[in-house]
Symmetry: C2
Subunit: 169 residues, 2 copies
Amino acid sequence: MKVSIHTLAVEQVAHTLQQLVGLLDKGAAHAEAKKFDSAVLVSSRLAPDMLPLSKQVQIVSDTAKFGVARLGGVEAPKWEDTEKTIDELKARVLKTIDFVKSVPASAFEGGEDRDIKIQIPNRTLEMKGLTYLRGWLLPNFFFHVSMTYAILRHNGVDIGKRDYLGELK
Amino acid sequence: MKVSIHTLAVEQVAHTLQQLVGLLDKGAAHAEAKKFDSAVLVSSRLAPDMLPLSKQVQIVSDTAKFGVARLGGVEAPKWEDTEKTIDELKARVLKTIDFVKSVPASAFEGGEDRDIKIQIPNRTLEMKGLTYLRGWLLPNFFFHVSMTYAILRHNGVDIGKRDYLGELK
């Protein structure tokens, strides 16, 4: 009745990141078919005071990156949030996949008991690795992929849940 | 480096379902403050060919219900999708929490190796419990909670990520 942190934080996360690349591809194809600049999608939001698609993807990347770094006990690479185009966002996701996959399964040994600290505005959250994985990494990761999906879908891009889930293996 | 299926499929899912109740409460309060019928939110969508909020919540409920039933080897209760108001949707989520929590941790023993079958239109998906948990249950569950959030947020309900995540424990 046990599953490894590696299968969740690396295998599943890398899989869903690859699906996100496909979602962004469909966004770019839609813009081309409708003859509008795909950068419009990059700055689209679901509400005026909500983060745009670019930031949603950057947070997906950071959530995945810090997830494996914290649970695997390795250093996270530093990436600036400078992406302005769909192609740049895709490149960000692809390098996130590379980093996530670079951390070996053995690094996650005992990850559920690691002390995790997260700096948020005006507060530091402290928790064990298990709580972090379950209550922070996975919910946040899927949330921001879903918000990216929602922004694309709301703007007419022809995507469905299979594009999000991908093939099950 | 192992985490239990129970902590993911029951503890985390029940926690996020409780946050969903809070999101629906904020939707109802918003409708009351703005003096519109909250049933408008229940039938709202992000795109004309996308499922409305009511169906998003029903799928959240079904995903959680079938998740613990399949992985825990117990029978899932049958619930009709008849909810038309925020209060009815909240009741649906609350009874989902009760059912999910009713399955004891011991029932998930060996759940990762169970043979899972999912009937989808024109196809039966077959997979092991681990693939189902990782690639279906969790991504679908968080996706449909996030779509509910997105519909409320898009319609002006004052919610933020903390309402989705809740307190970490």
